[in-house]
Structure formats: structure tokens, C-alpha cells
Amino acid sequence: MFIEIKDASRSYHQNDGQETSALDSVNLKIAEGEFICLLGPSGCGKSTLLNIVAGFDRPSQGSIHVKGQEVTQPSVERIAIFQNYGLLPWRSVLRNVTLGLEATGMNAKASRLLAEEYIELVGLTEYKKHHPGQLSGGMQQRVALARALAVDPKILLMDEPLGALDAMTRMSMQDEIERIWQKKMKTIIFVTHDIEEAVFLADRIVIMTPSPGKVKMVMEVPLARKRDRTSPEFLKIRDQIFKAFEFKGEDAWDYIL
């Protein structure tokens, strides 16, 4: 199996000496090229799980393996994309995209050409000399996407990447991410609390519930691409997910989308 999460738990020591469990024995197997959405309300451990797969954090118990290798630290094989983009404001779009290539020792000209290729892929060629502060949120996230893709990672880990965008921009970015995923054949783990977003993007949706963060169920989305957000099949799956969450009771659900 490409990614194998075995009994992964993560608990934190609090100031008063108590332990809180953010993630409780999660098991998950992900195939290469799969698009997985981790869906759940805040506090369900979806970001914790993503951080552990990225190697920013270690599980208290259990393990993560990618292609049989245990994950112990961050790697260019697994690039994370954040809600706040993580772009360097003092660098132009082009130099933000070359950032990841600089550590690989690629020469300046080759890395610039490669960066330009990816900037074109996300449709920002005419903005390559701009600084991030001059771009809209959606455009900044495209830059982050180009930067991630430029180092050719096997896995993209997206932590609510569209969370800061307005509804219309969100949908066009969902289209964009799907297009790029299909073109570049990446494995994507995508954290979201937006049910429609998950149904639109995912091959499989991992439904998580909070306190402690657990996987409640994994749901296949057997719809053909490109999905129609208003089709009856789409709405049916959406309704199933609504039901799955209602199962848990209202107290755990701090907002309904």
C-alpha cells in the first residue's frame, strides 16, 4: 500500500498535567493517485493527522509508512499546502515558486524555466513578477500550488487550502485542483469541513468525529469526473454524509454548512 496509517494516536500534555487526545488510533490505507478528503468539524483531529503524515509532528503511538518507509520528518516527497498559503511576502511569485528548487541544487536558469512552467499551469504567467501581497487570496493559493508542484512531490497534503476564500473563488479553485490532480497524477490528502467540497473532490471521504479525533467511517464517492454539483447523485451522497454526522449527536457539531 502506498500510504499506510497504522493505529496512529496523538495526545498532548496540557499545562495542568492532563493529557488530551487529539487523535485516537486511526487506521487508513491510501492507494497511489487517490484523492482522499478528511472531513469533520473542528477538533476532530484532521489537521493533526495531516501534520503527522507530513512529518511536522510524530504520532504518540502507531506509525505512518509511505511506500514502506516510516515517516519521521518532513520531506519534499510530501508537500503541505496551508490555509494561509505560507508564501514569502518579500519574494516575487516567480521566486516563491523557485524556493523549493533552490534546496535541490538545480541551477538558476533551469529552476526559473521550471517555475515558469508551473506558474503557467496555474494560470499566473502575467503575475510572475508581482509580490504575494498584490494578489488575491485565490491567486496566492495558486502560487502555493505551483510552488508545491514544482518540486514534483508524490503526495500533496492540503490543510483547508480554500478555507480563506469566498464561495465563488472556492468553487473555481476546486475545479482547478481537480484538473491539476488529474493532469499530474498526484496522491492528495485534503482536509476540509465543507461537505460539498469533499463530495466534489474526493475518491474516498474519511469522516472524522471529535473528542477524541476518530475515523467514524470511510465513504466511497463513485461519481464520474467532472462532477456536477447539482446532480441528484451528488446530492444523494451529500445527504448520506449529513446523516452520518447526525448519528453522532448535536453537541459535537459546532456548525452546519
Binding site: 511536522f56 520531506s75 496551508f82 514569502l88 518579500w90 504575494p132
Partner: protein
């Protein structure tokens, strides 16, 4: 338009100041040697400009100033980056800095003379001491405040030390560092004059002491005015450089879309 208005306001307020000064001097209550009239001072300034002594002193002062300031900027930033990153080292250095920082550079003067002799060195060392602490402390604070997200991104892309320091940490801390550089300009210029008053045989500070010894109160006041004007232009220059760098580094958020 805004600049013109600002300029007019500056002219008006300075004219009022000179007018009041003139009126007090003309009232005859004070001896001319205690309060020279604006005209007398202007003559003194003109005299110094004409015979070239002013430029000699100004250039000497500026030379010392930039030597001391640049040395403080380079060492303050380099040490600040290192101490800011290695927090355990800073925990040991911080108490020493906290004790040394409040000491006026002038208090070191007896030792500075003994260790560095006379001439340019004492004034340069005083400037260095005055500029060093604000730059060091703001650099350390800037490094401590670097957004954790940048460090995460750097770790993800495999950027390690020493690249991490100059590619991520230095630019991220830069706005704070610039702040320290700006504060240091002010205190360094103040102490330059003080330093030249006790140890030097040239420079604007010396000019004042020398004029006092010659009982030329008009030249004392002329010297004070020159110090003020030079300080003003240095501050403007730094602001200009700040602007250029901010623009280059994309720190300016003006005109940004959301």
C-alpha cells in the same frame, strides 16, 4: 500638494522660532555673549561655510558616524540572528546585555581613551556602543517573531541552515531589524557629538567645544544648528533607503488586493 503644504508649515514654524529668538535677543535683556542674535549666528555660519572649516568638520563627523554605525549594524545583525535562533545561547547572553545596555556610552569614556587612544577611534567606538544595542535587540526580537508557518514551509522544502538563516529568517525578521536600525541612527548621532566633545580634535562636537573655549557663543549656536540639520538629513536618507528596500522586498502592503 501635500508636500508643499508640509513645507509651508515647516517654514512658518521655523520663522516663528527665529522671530521669537530675534525679539528676545533684541530686547537687550541678555548680553549678546549669552544669547547671540540670529543675525550674528547667521554671520558666524556664513563665515564657517566660506572658509571651509564647516565642511571639514561635517565630513569628519559623518565619516566617524558611518564607520561606527556600519560596524554596529553588521555585528548587531549577525549576532542578533545567531542569538535569536539559538535561544539557549541567548538565555546566557541576555542578562549581560540587560546590564550593559543602560550604561551611557559616555561612561565608558575613560576606558575607551585608555584602550583606543585618541583621534578618530574613541568617537567611532562611542557611536558603535550607542548603535549596537538597539540593533542587536531588535534583531533578536525579529527572529523570535518569525511566523512559524515560514519555518514549516522551509522544513518541508528541505531548506536547512545556513540557507534557512539568510533565505527565510533574515528577510522575515527584516521589518523589525529595520526598526532597530532606525532607532540606532538617532541615538548614535546624539552620542557622536558627545564623543567628539571629550576626545576629538575635529568634528562638529569639537567645533562647539572649541568655539566655547574661544568665547564665540555665536559659533556654538551655529554648530548646534549644523548638528540638527545634519541629523535631520541623515534621518531622511535612512527613510529613503527604508522605502526602497521595503518596495524591493514586497513588504509594502499598499495597493494590495484581498
Amino acid at each position: 500638494m501635500k508636500n508643499v503644504k508640509q513645507f509651508i508649515r515647516a517654514v512658518i514654524s521655523l520663522s516663528i522660532l527665529i522671530g521669537v529668538w530675534w525679539a528676545i535677543a533684541a530686547s537687550g535683556r541678555f548680553e549678546p555673549s549669552l544669547l547671540p542674535s540670529p543675525w550674528k549666528v547667521w554671520q558666524g555660519m556664513f563665515e564657517m561655510i566660506k572658509d571651509g572649516t564647516l565642511w571639514t568638520h561635517v565630513w569628519i563627523s559623518l565619516g566617524r558616524f558611518f564607520a561606527g554605525y556600519l560596524a554596529a549594524a553588521v555585528s548587531g545583525i549577525v549576532l542578533g540572528l545567531i542569538f535569536g535562533w539559538y535561544k539557549k545561547v541567548w538565555a546566557f547572553v541576555d542578562p549581560i546585555v540587560q546590564v550593559l545596555r543602560p550604561v551611557s556610552p559616555i561612561a565608558w569614556f575613560p576606558f575607551i581613551i585608555l584602550w583606543f587612544g585618541i583621534g578618530n577611534a574613541p568617537a567611532v567606538v562611542i557611536i558603535f556602543t550607542a548603535a549596537f544595542y538597539p540593533i542587536l535587540l531588535s534583531t533578536v526580537a525579529g527572529v523570535n517573531r518569525v511566523d512559524a508557518l515560514y519555518l514549516k514551509v522551509a522544513a518541508n522544502f528541505g531548506i536547512r541552515q545556513p540557507q534557512l538563516l539568510y533565505k527565510i529568517i533574515l528577510p522575515a525578521a527584516f521589518p523589525m531589524i529595520m526598526n532597530g536600525l532606525h532607532m540606532a541612527i538617532g541615538s548614535a548621532w546624539v552620542f557622536l557629538v558627545a564623543g567628539e566633545m571629550v576626545g576629538a580634535q575635529s568634528g562638529l562636537g569639537y567645533l562647539i567645544i572649541d568655539s566655547r573655549n574661544a568665547l564665540r557663543s555665536d559659533l556654538v549656536l551655529a554648530g548646534i544648528i549644523f548638528i540638527g540639520i545634519s541629523g535631520y538629513f541623515i534621518d531622511r536618507l535612512v527613510r529613503l533607503i527604508e522605502r526602497i528596500i521595503e518596495k524591493q522586498w514586497g513588504i509594502l502592503s499598499e495597493g494590495g488586493r484581498t
